[in-house]
């Protein structure tokens, strides 16, 4: 294999995953929270592809492709929710969603 070791790819993957997690933990706009979730899933995808290359098996790639579909589905539902909330004039700020608490 030319270029860097699989370890390097995994480092990038971990970084993306952690960045995405940070986004979910920090951001208040549900849209950006969704984007951050995508970032996390893509971090995991990179790890899967890298491991797939490491082991020379196709399972990781299959897994990654499935994750893409799932991620797309989550986005659709998430965006649907956000649009529905916007229609109801709810503030698009996850910190304002505190009707349910205690």
């Amino acid at each position: 294999m030319k270029g860097p070791d699989v370890t390097w790819y995994l480092g990038v993957a971990a970084f993306m995953f952690a960045t995405g997690a940070l986004g979910v933990l920090l951001r208040r706009s549900p849209l950006i929270v969704l984007l951050s979730l995508e970032l996390m899933l893509n971090g995991a995808n990179l790890a899967l592809i890298a491991f797939s290359r490491l082991h020379g098996g196709g399972a990781g790639q299959i897994f990654a492709l499935s994750v893409m579909a799932v991620a797309a589905s989550e986005v659709v539902v998430g965006l649907g929710l956000i649009v529905a909330m916007a229609r109801r004039n709810l503030t698009l700020d996850v910190d304002k969603l505190t009707w349910l608490r205690g």
């Binding site: 920090l26 196709g58 579909a69």
Partner: protein, 190 residues
């Protein structure tokens, strides 16, 4: 002279350079996604991120996944994202407004902890088997190979994926359906 260097290390340096560029783009766009205050820019940053990821996939010989990444993900999914953001209008929220708080401190702490943990795990393994990737044949990661796997070893995964997408479509319809339609139907129900 330069052709000699190139010839000596074959494509290796080039691969490193490409990797470095893509990785840097990945990291930078990832940071950008979570730090832009306007969701529109965040989404654009994510598209960049996905594109640079596709490059990394190519370097890992996952050609089909790379193509799918660009076509499906960066192409279709993100376009949908951009549409919604455009529809809702740019509602910015500044990630760091209001100065440091306990929650932010803890959030950064947790994210860093997870990152460090994974890096430590990788460090513990580095130089070991992680440096010895398997030999792969030419059609590894090719559409034909992926297609074969989806029809044999992972037949079920393929089918479930389609179910998940269908459900998501239903969800989009249910949640996004317009209030006027609801009223019309309700009138029919009475």
């Amino acid at each position: 002279m330069s052709s000699l260097v190139l010839a000596a290390s074959a494509g290796n340096v080039l691969t490193w350079v490409v990797w470095f560029g893509a990785a840097l783009a990945c990291v930078a766009s990832g940071i950008a996604v979570v730090s832009f205050s306007n969701p529109f820019y965040s989404a654009l940053a994510l598209i960049g991120n996905l594109a640079s990821l596709a490059v990394l996939y190519l370097l890992l010989s996952a050609e089909f996944v790379a193509a799918a990444q660009v076509l499906v993900y960066a192409g279709a999914v993100m376009v949908m994202f951009l549409f919604v953001i455009a529809y809702l209008g740019g509602r910015a929220d500044a990630p760091w407004a209001g100065g440091p708080s306990l929650h932010r401190f803890a959030a950064v702490g947790a994210a860093v902890a997870i990152l460090v943990e994974v890096l430590v795990v990788l460090g513990l393994k580095a130089g070991g088997e992680l440096s010895h990737p398997a030999r792969i044949s030419g059609d590894f990661g090719s559409p034909a190979e992926i297609g074969r796997l989806f029809l044999t070893d992972h037949l079920l995964a393929f089918e479930i994926t389609s179910v998940v997408l269908l459900i998501a479509a239903v969800g989009g319809v249910v949640l996004g359906s317009h209030a006027r339609r609801l009223q019309a139907e309700e009138a029919g129900l009475e």
